[in-house]
């Protein structure tokens, strides 16, 4: 399509390149509209983000962010209107406040800085959607996979031996109780 050169240095890709999976929560009025605008303007950006639409960034419960990580997201992006621009007056301030605390918590739980990002993108900033998505994808790619579902499995592997041992003599007709 475009003859514009890519800025990224040309590196031989490993056999299975890691493609970050980023879940984005976009507010309907600004950031989702901006993403629509990016589309209408045919801007090209990294295909790694999956957008979940909410009416306002204020609807985003920190539980959603944690859940996204737990279900396998390598990054979570939260997009809302610029401060002072919220379609619902001040929803984005409430988001900012609670997310500042969430960021501290994520840090303490060992989730690297670049994996969660809060951005203000107005309905007119299609180009910012492109920039933020590209930047975040690159950043998360550099951080590598988070793969929490895999980690959960790996953690629980230490219980496998005992599970087999205790249930070895269990009558077969019993339903297994172990999760």
């Amino acid at each position: 399509m475009s003859e514009q050169p890519s800025m990224a240095p040309v590196v031989a890709a490993p056999a299975v390149a890691f493609e970050p999976r980023i879940v984005a929560f976009f507010c309907n009025w600004c950031t989702y509209t901006a993403a629509d605008l990016a589309g209408v303007s045919r801007l090209k950006y990294a295909p790694n983000v999956r957008v979940i639409r909410v009416m306002c960034s204020g609807r985003v419960d920190p539980q959603f962010v944690l859940e996204a990580f737990a279900k396998g997201a390598d990054g979570v992006l939260l997009g809302g209107c610029h401060p002072g621009d919220c379609h619902y007056a001040e929803g984005n301030y409430k988001t900012l406040r609670r997310m500042r605390m969430l960021i501290r918590m994520l840090k303490e739980l060992g989730i690297e800085d670049g994996r969660f990002r809060l951005e203000w993108i107005s309905g007119a900033e299609g180009d910012k959607v492109k920039a933020v998505v590209n930047e975040m994808t690159a950043q998360v790619r550099a951080l590598g996979p988070l793969d929490l579902p895999g980690k959960f499995k790996e953690w629980d592997r230490e219980m496998e031996d005992l599970e087999q041992h205790v249930n070895a003599s269990a009558p077969q007709q019993e339903e297994a109780h172990v999760r």
Binding site: P62, E67, M101, W155, V166, V178
Partner: protein, 321 residues
């Protein structure tokens, strides 16, 4: 075998407070003892693992297990009791959510062992000896339980029918649970045996909570003279009451201390800490990131504050590293 219900009590990683709670039933305990046969209660009576192993599967009517699961031994016992019992009740905050022991999920096992056996003040262990799961002594093999990497809630190890919340559960809740079990009028599986709304409902200070908290600073209990009447959150204390299940009748606030969340969240909330953050911090005063951060500095240990009893049940389960 007796016709009375067969009851087992077991403790995993816990402080013993839950055992105390059973004793705290006071004279009611006699009624309980009369109504049931206790087949296992390590803290009070002498039973051996072999006794339980020897029992037919599902022969225990109900097993009350308290404490988090951290070692292979606890894990084994939990599985064993699961196999032998018809109903397992996860008893108390540690069994339900990991409890205080689960705060260890903020650290790597290696770091913990290193600190305890090598680096901690007062440790004199030049050979850097550490307990081994299996070791030879005078030709005999000694085995010790293995410390797991992750501190787990009981239901992360075995299937659980009911939960009794609290650190520890209150005698009233325990009695109610026992009566329900004895009467056979059982709620659906997975039920937490306490009211499914937030603690504020039961708190005497509820009416003194202003509509808009508009918090500009957070305080820790030792930093202020706590007003015994007024809503604790309104005084800038992190009171987890709004995000914590009711049932304790707000004993801590009644004792002039903020709720620390031992009853866990309501059935509609997956992650107590995250939800608390969402609620309380949305309402603080500043609007600029920098000023917000200054207010948040008033909560120096977010994990220890919001997941004091629940880190195992945090959606992320533990610190990743």
């Amino acid at each position: 075998m007796s016709a009375k219900p067969q009851v087992a009590f077991y403790w995993c990683a816990s402080c013993g407070g839950c055992e105390e709670a059973v004793v705290d039933l006071a004279e009611d305990i006699l009624k309980v003892v009369e109504a049931v046969d206790i087949v296992l209660w390590p803290v009070a009576m002498d039973f051996k693992k072999a006794d339980i192993e020897a029992r037919p599967d599902k022969s225990i009517t109900v097993a009350f297990i308290n404490g988090a699961v951290r070692t292979s031994e606890q894990e084994e016992w939990a599985r064993l009791l699961r196999r032998k019992s018809q109903v397992v009740v996860s008893f108390g905050a540690c069994a339900n959510m990991g409890g205080i022991p689960a705060l260890a999920n903020q650290f790597r096992r290696e770091d913990l062992l290193k600190y305890i056996y090598e680096d901690g003040p007062g440790v004199d262990n030049p050979a850097k000896t550490r307990p081994q799961a299996s070791s030879q002594d005078e030709g005999r093999t000694l085995s010790l339980p293995e410390l797991r990497n992750v501190v787990r809630s009981l239901d992360q190890v075995i299937d659980v029918e009911f939960y009794l919340p609290g650190c520890p559960p209150t005698p009233k809740l325990i009695m109610a649970a026992v009566q329900a079990l004895l009467s056979g009028q059982l709620p659906p599986k997975g039920t937490v045996l306490s009211p499914d709304h937030a603690l504020c409902e039961e708190c005497a200070r509820k009416d003194s909570k202003p509509v808009d908290l508009a918090l500009a600073a957070f305080k820790r209990p030792h930093q202020i003279q706590i007003d015994p009447e007024k809503c604790l959150l309104a005084q800038g204390l992190v009171c987890m009451g709004p995000a914590t299940r009711a049932g304790c009748e707000a004993v801590c606030p009644a004792g002039n201390m903020p709720c620390t969340g031992c009853f866990g969240p309501s059935s509609r909330v997956k992650d107590q800490g995250a939800k608390f953050i969402s609620s309380v911090f949305s309402n603080i005063v500043p609007k600029e990131a920098k000023e917000i951060d200054a207010v948040l500095d008033g909560v120096p240990d977010p994990i220890g504050t919001f997941y004091r009893y629940g880190l195992s049940k945090c959606i992320l389960r533990r610190k990743l590293n």
